[in-house]
Symmetry: C2
Subunit: 249 residues, 2 copies
DNA sequence: CCCCAATGGCCTGATTCCAGACCATTGAAG
DNA sequence: CTTCAATGGTCTGGAATCAGGCCATTGGGG
């Protein structure tokens, strides 16, 4: 019967896999949990920060308040979040990023399985393209200042915040393209790799290299040099991927 | 109150827009209709072709058979599709691509609105990156042959099939990256622009230029020359975008 | 001190969507 | 001619999700 199945695949063949992929990402509740968790792990909200109010968050996520609350309850039971009632209350983050650990890294990689190469390729294409696109745009003074402040935030980061600020820096470049779809895709790609990236032990030498590459990226983008922005981003992502593969080998 | 809203946006600010985008793309039924329609317009299924059986299609789209059938009923009423019962029956495509029309083009562009630039940027980043990624991979003889056959299909295409075969060609490059996510993203980007692209009048001169650019892309990918693949794709997409903007101006 | 606006907590009815079963039809294979 | 496997056509019960309202709590402002 496997052969029969295989023949069916071949008959459809083509890119049917891309076109006929699932319409809905399964469960609204689980998807909501995942989104919130990723928002926290990505550093959009740090320890002690308040999430948007339930009603607003539900609207943004396109989900009913009931479903959102179910997700928040799950996160609460997992100890990631804590609700407080009353005016000036809200849902507050109680999650702290665990220290990097090679065992976690290997486990996360195993969980991803064959999707690892997929995610790395996807990320590479999106972020390299975004850097080039951002460089070729005319950026407003606000946008330029925003990018620079993301970079200085990152360079002065204490170790426990480094990963989150690194995420914010990379997401900021996506935003500079002016394409919401592209920014969202970059966020999604990074979410997939996030557990992996967060588990990479941080060596001073690597951080210094990364800082140089970050500066090169920002410099090229601000100078409007698309080619340089692309090359710098390529180099940076290749280094990260190599580091990752090194710990997995 | 608008000011209050604006201040809220600023407080969240960041990439919250990317992270807290809607979880579900609204309605499962409507989304299914859209997907099937795009699959047909994209040329995955031509006139007279049979769609996969309902049970299989429902499984692939991650939707219940009831929902899928509701979508098919809608497409049937729109005259795009026709069901036949019995063994060796199925759902058959009765849609024919309308002739390109500048009025349609302007209407489609108006429907897209501000999302047009977004979609063009997204497409550019994805397809340029995919071409480079495909070129840098080691392709199997099957893959190489597949790409070449897509190109020859396109070059020998009668006008009424040109757009569909053009789509297939571009989607094939996405598949060559080996990243299903990237291939899916390219399909999605193209779906958004599809009504626009299909409405562009085809001038012999443009078709010849496009054919040259296609050959350059294939040549570079098969030669493993990433830089050349990127440049050729960049040029091709820039030409298409310029053509588009020309008709809209 | 009291009020009240903003927040989380809770409930209900309606709607959408799903999983699975069963029926009706058809045409090729035996 | 009969069989039968694959297909579309139909139905039902239940789960998930939504829309909206109302309640309980809280702390700052009057």
């Amino acid at each position: 019967m496997d052969l029969e199945e295989a023949r069916k695949q071949a008959r459809l063949g083509w890119q049917a896999g891309a076109i006929f992929r699932p319409v809905r990402t399964g469960n609204a509740f689980e998807e909501t949990v995942e989104r919130l968790l990723q928002a926290i792990k990505l550093g959009v909200f740090g320890f002690g920060d308040r999430l948007p109010a339930e009603r607003e968050l539900a609207a943004r996520l396109g989900v009913s308040r009931e479903t959102l609350r179910e997700a928040l309850r799950t996160l609460q039971q997992a100890g990631c979040v804590e609700p407080r009632r009353g005016r000036y209350g809200g849902t507050f983050v109680t999650y702290r990023m665990p220290a990097p650990d090679v065992a976690d890294l290997r486990r996360a990689a195993r969980d991803l399985g064959g999707a690892l190469e997929d995610a790395l390729t996807y990320r590479q294409v999106l972020e390299v393209g975004a850097a080039e696109a951002a460089a070729r745009r005319t950026l407003s003074p606000d946008q330029r200042a925003h990018l620079e402040s993301r970079l200085t935030d990152l360079e002065g980061a204490p170790p426990e915040q480094y990963r989150q600020l690194d995420s914010r820096f990379h997401l900021a470049i996506g935003e500079l393209t002016g394409s919401p779809t592209l920014a969202a895709a970059i966020a999604e790609a990074r979410m997939r790799l996030n557990d992996l990236l967060n588990a990479i032990p941080m060596l001073d030498r690597n951080i210094e290299h990364a800082a140089e590459q970050h500066r090169a990226m920002v410099g090229a983008i601000l100078a409007g040099d698309g080619d340089a922005a692309r090359r710098a981003t390529e180099e940076h992502l290749a280094a990260t991927a190599a580091l990752l593969r090194g710990f997995l080998a």
